[in-house]
C-alpha cells in the first residue's frame, strides 16, 4: 500500500492514538494536551503537502483525488482552528480535556475518510465514525441542562436520519446493483425508468442533508448549537458540514442537470434559504441565529450542486471552505466574549467595540462575509455559486438566492450594530481578552478578506477537483 497517498489521514490517526494514550496513562495533574495546537498546525501542513496526490486504494472504495485532498486540507484547517479555539474551554472539566480532544480528532479523522470514500457503504461507515464521536461531545458542558437536551436531539435525529439513509442505500443497491459511485454514474436515474433508484438516492442524500442542516433536516441545528458549549458548536457548525458537502459534491457527479432529483434539490435549496433566513430574523441568541443562518447557507451550497457542472461543483467546494472560515471566525469571537462559557445574546455583544476593538472588527468582517458583501470571501463564494446556477438555467433559484441575501442583511447587520453602536450595561463584568487571542481572530479575519480579494488560487484548486470528478 502506498502510505504516501493517505498521509493526512495517517497523521490524524496518529493524533487520535497519541491522545488516547495520554488519556489512558495520564496522572492526576493532567491539564490536557497542550501540545495539540502545534501538532494540529503541522497537520494542516501535512495535508497541504499532499494536495496533488492521486490514486485508489482498498479495492477502489477509497479514492485519493483533487477533491478529497482539497477537503482534507480544509478539514485539518477547521480542526486546527477548533483546537486553538477550545484550548481554554471554560465549561469543560480539566480531567475531561484529553478525552474531549480525542473525540474531536476522531471525528475529524472520520471526515477525512469521508472525503475519500468512493463507495456508498464506505461513505456510510465514515459518516458514522465522524458522527458518533460528536454524540459524545455535545453533552459535555458543565452542568448545563440544555446540553443534555441538545445531545438527545442530535442523537435521536441523527439515528432516524441514519436509518433513512441506510434504507435509501438498500434501494440503490437493489435497483442499480452497485455501490460504487463510478458505477452509479453510468446508470440511468430517471423516475420513469428506475423509480426505486431515484427514491433510494433521495433517501440516501437525506443522511447528508442532515449533516448539512438543509431544510427539512434542519430542526436539530439551532437547538444543538444553543445547547452545546460555544467551542463544540464552533466545530459542529463547520467541519462536519465539509464532510456533507464533499459527499454531496461526489454524488452530484451522478446527477445530470434537469433530472428529477436535481429539481427536488433546487426546491429544497430555495426553501432552506428562505426558511433559514426568515427564522433567523427573530433570534436573540447568537448561536441560534447562526444555526438558522447555517440552514440558509446549506441552501446556497446547493446552488452549486444543482447545476451539475464542473464549475458548479467547484463553486460548492470553494464555498464550503469559505463557509468554514467565516463561520469559525464568527464562533471564535463568540467563544472569546463568553468568558464563563455562557450563551451570548445579541445584547451581550453591546459595546464590544469598547471592550475589544479588535474582536469587534473581526466580528464585523465575519458578519459581512456571511452576508456575502464584497470584498470578503463570502461574496466571491456566492458569486461563483450564482453564476454556475444561472449558467445552467436555474434563473429562478438565483433570484430567490439574491432576494434571500437581502433578507439576511438585517440579522447579520444586527451583530455589527450591537457591537459598534449600542453601549454595554455598565454593571456587566469586564472581559479580559489577551492580545494573542485578538491576533488569532485577526488572522482568521485576514484569511476571510484575502480569500475574497484573491480567490483565484484556491478556486483553481477547487476547479481542478470539480473537473476531475466529471468525465
Amino acid at each position: 500500500m502506498n502510505f504516501d497517498l493517505v498521509m493526512p489521514e495517517l497523521f490524524q490517526l496518529l493524533v487520535v492514538v497519541a491522545l488516547f494514550v495520554q488519556s489512558v496513562v495520564r496522572g492526576r495533574d493532567d491539564t490536557g494536551p497542550r501540545w495539540l495546537p502545534v501538532v494540529a498546525i503541522i497537520g494542516v501542513v501535512v495535508a497541504a503537502s499532499k494536495l496533488g496526490a492521486q490514486g485508489v486504494l482498498f479495492e477502489d472504495v477509497y479514492r485519493v483525488d483533487a477533491l478529497s485532498q482539497f477537503f482534507k486540507v480544509a478539514i485539518s484547517l477547521g480542526f486546527c482552528v477548533t483546537v486553538i479555539n477550545a484550548q481554554n474551554q471554560p465549561t469543560l472539566e480539566t480531567q475531561k480535556r484529553t478525552d474531549y480532544f480525542m473525540m474531536l480528532s476522531l471525528s475529524a479523522w472520520g471526515l477525512m475518510l469521508l472525503a475519500s470514500a468512493a463507495e456508498l457503504i464506505t461513505l456510510y461507515l465514515a459518516l458514522e465514525l465522524s458522527s458518533y464521536s460528536l454524540y459524545a461531545l455535545i453533552p459535555l458542558r458543565g452542568n448545563d441542562r440544555r446540553a443534555s437536551e441538545a445531545a438527545i436531539k442530535y442523537i435521536l435525529f441523527g439515528a432516524v436520519v441514519t436509518a433513512v439513509a441506510l434504507y435509501g442505500l438498500s434501494y440503490i443497491m437493489a435497483s442499480q446493483h452497485t455501490t460504487y459511485i463510478q458505477g452509479l454514474m453510468e446508470k440511468t436515474w430517471s423516475m420513469a425508468e428506475n423509480p426505486m433508484a431515484v427514491v433510494g438516492l433521495t433517501l440516501f442524500l437525506g443522511g447528508f442533508f442532515y449533516k448539512l442542516a438543509l431544510f427539512p433536516f434542519h430542526f436539530w441545528c439551532p437547538d444543538v448549537y444553543e445547547g452545546t458549549s460555544n467551542e463544540t458548536a464552533a466545530y459542529v457548525a463547520t467541519v462536519p458540514k465539509l464532510g456533507a458537502v464533499v459527499v454531496l459534491v461526489r454524488l452530484s457527479s451522478v446527477l445530470s442537470p434537469g433530472m428529477e432529483v436535481t429539481n427536488i434539490l433546487a426546491i429544497l435549496a430555495a426553501l432552506s434559504m428562505t426558511i433559514g433566513n426568515l427564522t433567523a430574523l427573530v433570534q436573540k441568541d447568537v448561536k441560534r441565529l447562526l444555526g438558522y443562518s447555517s440552514v440558509s447557507h446549506a441552501g446556497y451550497v446547493m446552488l452549486g450542486l444543482v447545476s451539475g457542472t464542473a464549475a458548479g461543483l467547484s463553486a460548492a467546494t470553494f464555498y464550503a471552505l469559505v463557509y468554514l472560515l467565516m463561520n469559525l471566525t464568527c464562533f471564535y469571537v463568540i467563544s472569546r466574549i463568553a468568558v464563563n462559557g455562557e450563551n451570548v445574546t445579541l445584547n451581550g455583544l453591546n459595546g464590544l467595540y469598547r471592550k475589544s476593538p479588535g474582536l469587534a472588527l473581526v466580528l464585523a468582517v465575519s458578519a459581512f462575509a456571511l452576508v456575502g458583501l464584497p470584498p470578503t470571501a463570502g461574496f466571491a463564494g456566492k458569486l461563483f455559486l450564482l453564476a454556475s446556477a444561472w449558467d445552467h438555467g436555474y434563473n429562478w433559484l438565483v433570484i430567490v438566492a439574491v432576494l434571500n441575501t437581502a433578507i439576511a442583511i438585517y440579522y447579520y447587520l444586527n451583530l455589527v450594530r450591537h457591537a459598534y453602536t449600542e453601549e454595554s450595561d455598565a454593571a456587566a463584568p469586564a472581559t479580559s481578552i489577551s492580545s494573542g487571542q485578538v491576533a488569532m481572530g485577526g488572522i482568521l479575519a485576514a484569511c476571510v478578506l484575502l480569500l475574497g480579494v484573491l480567490p483565484a488560487p484556491i478556486y483553481d484548486l477547487a476547479l481542478t477537483a470539480g473537473k476531475a470528478l466529471l468525465p
Binding site: L373, L386, A387, T405, D460
Partner: protein, 526 residues
Amino acid sequence: MTDAGYPVISSLIFLPLAASVALFFIRQDGFVRGFTLVVGILECLLALPLFGYVPNGGYQFEETVAWIPAWDITYHLAVDGLSLFMVMLTAVLLPLCVLCSWTYIGKRIKEFHFCLLLMTAACVGVFTALDFVLFYVFWEAMLVPMYLLIAVWGGPERKYASIKFFLYTLAGSTLLLAAIVAFRTVGGTFDITVLTSKTFSFEFQFWTFLAMALAFAVKVPMFPLHTWLPAAHVQAPSAGSVILAAVLLKMGTYGFLRLCLPLAPAASVYFAPMMIAVSIASILYGGLIALGQKDIKKLVAYSSVAHMGFVTLGIFVLTQRGVEGAILQMLNHGITTGALFMLIGLIYERSHSREIVDNQGLGKFMPAFMFFWGLFSLSSLAFPGTNSFVGEVLVLAGTFEVNNWAGFLAIPGAMLAAAYMLRLMQKVAWGDPSSYKKKWGDLNGREWIYLMPMAFLVFYIGFAPGPALRMISPSITTVLTTVEQKNQTLGFHKDMPLAECMQLEPTARVADGAASPVSLPGKERL
C-alpha cells in the same frame, strides 16, 4: 500604464487603502488627522494627471490585470468623460472632509478617518471599474464605511437612519448582482467594454434594465425610493453628508449612464417616459417637501431629491444636451450641496442645533459665513453665473427638445428651489437673532480653507463651463450613438407595442460572437 508613468487610477484607489491600514499604527488623534490630511493632499496630487485626458470619447488611463481567470474576471479600470470629473471630485473631497471634521468629530477619531479613507477608495473604484464584478465589489464595499459613519458618529437617531440606509441600498443592489450574473451567462464575459459591444434581445434587456434600475434608483434616490436619504443625511456627520451628497448619490446616475444605456439601450428607450415621469415627480415632490422643513439639513436633503431628479431627467431625455446637463449637474450638485453640508456642519458646531429657528440672523455676526451661505444657496437654486445654472439650463433645453410637457412640468421645480432656498437664506441671514449669537466667531482659517475651493469651482464652472463640457461631450456622443445603433440593429422603435418588442432578437448576434450557446466554464460538462 499611462502617460503619467504610473497607474494613476490604481494609485488613487490603493493610496487611501494603504493609508487606512497605516492608521492602525498611529496613536495620537492629532497625528491621525494630520496624516489623513496629507494623504488627502497626495490623493489630489496623484489625480492631477487626469487633467491630461484627451476628449475623444474613449477610455483612457486604462489598466487591466487578470483577477479571477477561471471566471474571466479582470481588474479593469479606466476613465472617460462620464467618470472623469466624479473621480476628481472624490479626490478633492477627501482633504476637505478631513478639514471640515477637524473639530466636529470628537470620538473614535482613528476609526472615523479609517472609514473616510475606505470610502474614498471604494468611490474611485466605482467610477473607474470596467469589469462588472469589480464594479459590484466597489459598489458594495463603500456601504460598510458609510454605514459606520452614520451609525457611530451620527445624530441622535443614527441607529434608525444607518440601518435604513444599509437595508435600502443593499436590498436594491442585490438584484443588480442577479443582472450581472445574467449578463455573464448571455454575454459570455463580465467585462463591461465587451458587453457594451454586444446587442441583447429586448426581453433580456427588459428584465436586466429593471433589475439594474432598481439598484440605481435607490441610490440616486428617485421618488418613491428616497425615504432613506433625509434620515441618513440628517443623522450623518458633516463629512458623511458631504460624501453622501457629493459622491454616493452620483453612483446611481452614473450607473444609469455607464450600464443601463449601453447594455440595455432598447429597454432604456422603452422605459424612458416612465423614468422621465418619476424624475419630474422627484423634482416636484422634493421641492415641495423641502419648502415645509424646519430643519436646515433636512431641507437641503430634500432639495437633493429634487436636484437629482433633474439629473435623471437629463439622462432619460436621451439627447446630447440633456445628458451633458445631467453630467454637469452631477458635478455641480456634488460641489454645491457638499459645500452646503459643510456650512451646516460648522454652524452646528456653534449652535448645536440644525433648526432654522436656532440659527437665525447670522448676517450681522458672521458676514464671511453669510457670504458662502449666500453663494452656495444661489448656486443651489441655479442662479445665473453659478455652476448649477449651466447644468439646469442644459437639462431643461434637452427636455424641451424631446417633449414640451415634460419641460413645462419640470420648470416649477426650478421655481420651488428658489422659494425654499431664498426662504432659508432670508431666515438664516436676516431672521430675529438671539443674543448669544454675538459670542459665535465667524469663519476661522481652517473653515476658509475648505470652503474656498468649493466657491472657486462654483464660479469657474458657472462662468466657463466650456472646458468641462468639452471633456464630457465626446463620451456622451459615444453612448448616445451606441444606443441608437444598437436599437437599429435590434429593429427596435419606441412606438412599438410591448408584445412585439419582446419578440426582438438581435440578428447580428451570431456575427459578433455572442451567439448561444456560449463557451463558458459553467456550460461545459467536463
